[in-house]
Subunit: 304 residues, 2 copies
């Protein structure tokens, strides 16, 4: 990575991260209906599910990719809201009793525990709609046809051939032993598809010279897999208190993980390799890609 | 309504309806991933939920409004798929044990009965994504910015201030006594919002001279409410076998309905009044609006 050459002092990664998180929180605050807006209980539960929690990894990827493509910040805010809403909806539904039956998320009771199951179902449903609403509320690309294509990208990443499909693969996998390629296939869908969309849609808010998008796509695939490998490592080694969600649950449910297939050390090595691959993918990008580089570090190096 | 003046023989309403239904079925068939496409069980369940059932009222409204606005049939097919997918997802989620806990839908076991609850949850989630995917897969308006606005219309109609919000209002209403305006407010959201979007999006695939869209909007509101009033009447008077879903359930659950508030006769009168209002709204449209006129009749006069 080239160092930034400009005269203005460059923010540290921690400063940049805090800035993006605050920006995204404000954008989400503003995009979601007030809890005084009827139906109040639903809007209260939606805000409970989305606001004031989470690392906002996907929005950070959107901003980092957008900055590499010189995209305007308002556009990135809208895309960041959309991908975070899709992510938040998936967590609410994933926590339901018929799925993972989890009671703790981001250090708080899950939505169906704090409210009720029917409300949690509707929170997820409404959040998915809200994602497409915020993604189409203002122009996000110089060319409106490209904007339509961006919506298609998010829909495909969220659906049965993307994230929801990954959840279905995950359901089928409980109690079965998976091979490493099968596990990878599950995660490419379950978390990888939305992470990839977060990166690509950020870049589409601006412009990259070829072969920028192809390289970003490769970066996103590496980071997406790394994210999951690290999640498995953290789940295996961390306490519930540190993690903010019920730990050790995958092993207890006999769900296959990178740690159960590879062991802790080789899983860590894999994450490290994916971090190097992510960096490699954006070699040749200019200094505006510095946050992409740092985010790969952040995703792999958090907490261990 | 002016009669069609052209030389070609005009199809009867029944012929037109059969043609639209067949066309929509083919478009849905084609839009949804094959059940051989992994994850197979999810795709099988999605196709089970959507194909081969239902009256396709929303797609018919899309086509009827589109014909009134001279819209190309391929565009209308895509919009019809999108609104029907949103409708189908809402039925699957509405039937879940934590919601209405229903076992029969369109004469078949509900998705969570035929498959399982987790799969039904994912079917609904994936169908919502699929709706936005099909809505953005090809150009639907001469102006791409107008296309983006169409996506926004569907998202808003589906979300917490539209259909999902109506479901939440419905949840809150169980066991309470509602006033007529409260009941109307619930249905304006729960079924009205998507019906309105079905009509408006159909027209947006073509062009209407002013004040065409405003009048169509009024038509859609009348038809949407009429649809629900008639549903309540049918639910109160029909047997489960004729209806293809569990009948008399609203009364058994102590849910407020137009029949419980108004009685059967006054509920029928209201439906009749709304049919006249719908016709009135499109007075002055030319003969291409004939299907809109006939659809208002069909919606109110079906089965009684």
């Amino acid at each position: 990575m080239a160092e930034a050459m400009g005269a203005a002092p460059v923010a540290t990664f921690a400063e940049w991260m805090g800035d993006v998180q605050a920006r995204v929180e404000r954008a989400l605050e503003h995009s979601l209906p007030a809890s005084s807006h009827p139906p109040q209980r639903l809007h209260l539960a939606i805000r409970y599910a989305v606001l004031g929690g989470g690392k906002r990894v996907r929005p950070m990827l959107t901003f980092a990719a957008g900055e590499a493509a010189d995209a305007p910040a308002e556009r990135l805010g809208a895309v960041a809201c959309a991908v975070e809403m899709i992510h938040a909806y998936s967590l609410v539904h994933d926590d339901l009793p018929c799925m993972d039956d989890d009671v703790l998320r981001r250090g708080k009771p899950t939505v169906h525990v704090e409210f009720d199951e029917a409300t949690a179902l509707l929170v997820g449903d409404a959040l998915q709609s809200a994602a497409f609403e915020v993604l189409t509320a203002r122009p996000l690309a110089d060319d409106a046809a490209a904007h339509v294509a961006m919506v298609n990208t998010l829909a495909t990443a969220s659906g049965s051939r993307g994230m929801a499909g990954g959840q279905a693969i995950d359901l089928d996998a409980v109690g079965r032993s998976l091979t490493l390629p099968e596990l990878e296939n599950m995660h490419i869908h379950k978390t990888g598809a939305l992470i990839r969309a977060s990166v690509l849609l950020g870049a589409r808010c601006g412009h990259l010279p070829p072969p920028g998008y192809e390289r970003l796509d490769r970066y996103a695939k590496c980071v997406g897999l790394a994210f999951q490998v690290v999640d498995d490592v953290l789940d295996a080694q961390e306490s519930t208190a540190t993690l903010g969600k019920t730990a050790g649950k995958d092993a207890a449910q006999n769900k296959p993980t990178y740690v159960s297939l590879l062991g802790l050390d080789r899983a860590r090595d894999l994450a490290e390799q994916l971090r190097r691959d992510a960096h490699e993918a954006i070699v040749g990008f200019d200094e505006r890609a510095r946050r992409l580089h740092e985010l790969a570090d952040f995703i792999v190096l958090r907490k261990f």
